[in-house]
């Protein structure tokens, strides 16, 4: 279909200076409103004229959404904090290097300078049928082009499909799950706090959304609990080229070790399901072990049980198995 670039449909711009004002605007305009954070993904959508919001609420002037603060029980990161600020923050680097590592794997230096943690976590899927404006289930239509017999689906999911087979593209999302982060989502009525793993939803919950957030909701802060500070971390992202790319498969893991055995573990994989996938069965299996080669191999096998590849993405099964195995090997 013809795409006219560089011709962004007109919108009304609102630039609130406080979270309360932003929430009032989002409540007033409901589905018509688009929340603009770093603007990278937003302007891509707008230029393709596939998303045509009537109202844009720019968070650039909401100072209370910026910055990293030490609070009781951990770190509180404003949703508008840029990925570069996270990568360079001494507290993040020393206590939660998993998050700095994940943030540093996002795209390019320019994109990390502009992109925000909130925007990276809440971003939409990259399925190119959906991104190109095809009327798929996720876009409100009645088919999935990516799972059709001749579809190009090399980057799509092997687990958790439900009509839609797109994957979550966020590099920071699995790290937030491994760190047991809490996502603070506000609307005009009340704040809600979600565990990171519950913040992300799959198509069986709502095929049109990637997260729990509905119109009127705003992700304001991300709380990183101290419980996992200074744990043993592992992050690895496999992508087609060394820069820019979204993951094919990535893994983020946190391990607590006492007396040579794993006493706590949180492991999440992204790029394999429509949501970042926490591997609770693998966590239970490795706790109490020394994370040796036999355990790592078994963990890798367990992680891919039930995986169902599409026509072009069966490579993701050994890739996920190996990443999980490497994560476990690194634990002790």
């Amino acid at each position: 279909m013809a795409i006219i670039r560089d011709m962004i449909p007109d919108f009304d711009l609102f630039q609130p200076a406080s979270v309360d004002d932003a929430l009032a605007l989002l409540a007033e305009h409901g589905r018509e409103a688009w929340v603009l954070a770093g603007g990278l993904d937003s302007y891509d959508w707008f230029k393709d004229r596939i998303k045509r919001p009537k109202v844009v609420v720019d968070l650039g002037g909401v100072a209370e959404l910026n910055g990293i603060r030490e609070v009781e029980g951990g770190l509180e990161i404003g949703a508008m904090t840029t990925l570069t600020e996270i990568v360079r923050d001494a507290r993040v680097r020393s206590q939660y290097p998993l998050l700095a590592d994940a943030a540093e794997h996002v795209a390019t230096p320019q994109i990390r300078n502009q992109g925000t943690l909130g925007g990276n976590a809440a971003q939409d899927t990259r399925c190119w049928y959906y991104r190109s404006g095809w009327p798929c289930y996720r876009a409100g239509g009645n088919t999935c082009y990516a799972s059709a017999p001749k579809a190009m689906n090399r980057e799509h999911c092997i687990i958790g499909r439900s009509r839609c087979v797109a994957v979550n593209p966020s590099d920071t999302a699995p790290a937030l799950i491994a760190l047991d982060a809490k996502m603070i989502v506000r609307n005009e009525r009340r704040p809600n706090v979600y565990d990171a793993e519950d913040f992300f939803i799959g198509p069986s919950t709502d095929i049109t959304r990637m997260t729990v957030m509905k119109p009127g909701d705003l992700l304001t802060q991300i709380h990183i609990p101290a419980a996992w500070a200074n744990a043993n971390f592992y992050y690895e992202k496999i992508r087609d080229r060394g820069s820019w790319d979204f993951q094919l498969v990535s893994v983020a893991a946190a391990f607590q070790v006492s007396g040579g055995t794993i006493s706590g573990a949180r492991i999440a994989v992204n790029g394999v399901a429509p949501y970042p996938l926490r591997l609770e069965a693998v966590e239970r299996m490795v706790i109490g072990t020394e994370g040796d080669e036999a355990v790592a191999t078994e963990a890798g096998e367990l992680s891919v049980l039930g995986a169902r590849p599409l026509r072009h993405n069966d490579y993701k099964i050994p890739m996920m198995r190996n990443l999980v195995r490497r994560a476990i090997r690194s634990a002790v």
């Binding site: 990278l40 302007y43 720019d58 570069t84 230096p109 320019q110 300078n113 060394g242 820019w244």
Partner: protein
């Protein structure tokens, strides 16, 4: 003062019912520009201010040819709403040189043959200027990481890395710390 976009943009701006007066500081000059609300910083630089050094390549954040420095940080002008640059210092490739001559990076790119078609060069110069500002004697790995968001399809990057290393030496040698912004 009312500023009109150039004639070529008449159709574009006619489509837009809303426009903004945006105050920008570009290469040290203050401007008040009247632009449609949806204009990017790049469209404003190129089509309103006539600063065509910053290139419109992919226009979606893939190529880095539009890279400018906003408050010293390499930024994709094509994905920056123009109003996000208000109150900040914007530096484009046109602002790198001073009255005393080209920026050391520009000299080094010339001497080392670091540009072929040249389309990526303005963005790469901006990324490199920010790097030298932050890290005056960068390692080659640091240079590679700093340019990870700038695509060059001609040079294979080697001469670009050589030029940036030479510029770092030249800058350190003459004792000046030429500011990037």
């Amino acid at each position: 003062m009312t500023l009109q976009p150039p004639a070529g943009l008449a159709t574009l701006s006619a489509m837009s019912s809303t426009s903004e007066i945006v105050r920008l500081t570009v290469n040290g000059d203050n401007h008040a520009v009247g632009v449609p609300t949806h204009f990017t910083l790049l469209e404003t630089l190129r089509y309103v201010l006539g600063l065509t050094g910053s290139k419109q390549g992919c226009d979606k954040g893939d190529c880095g040819a539009c890279t400018v420095l906003v408050d010293g940080q390499p930024t994709l002008a094509c994905l920056t709403p123009v109003w996000e640059a208000e109150g900040k210092q914007v530096l484009t490739v046109e602002g790198l040189a001073t009255v005393d001559g080209p920026h050391p990076l520009q000299d080094a790119f010339d001497v080392h043959g670091a540009a072929q078609c040249g389309f990526c060069t303005p963005g790469i110069l901006c990324s490199a200027a920010a790097l030298l500002q932050r890290s005056p004697r960068p390692t080659r790995v640091e240079i590679q990481e700093a340019l990870a968001g700038n695509l060059c399809r001609c040079t294979g990057y080697t001469k670009i890395y050589d030029a940036i290393e030479a510029a770092a030496v030249a800058q350190a040698g003459d004792g000046s710390s030429q500011a990037a912004g």
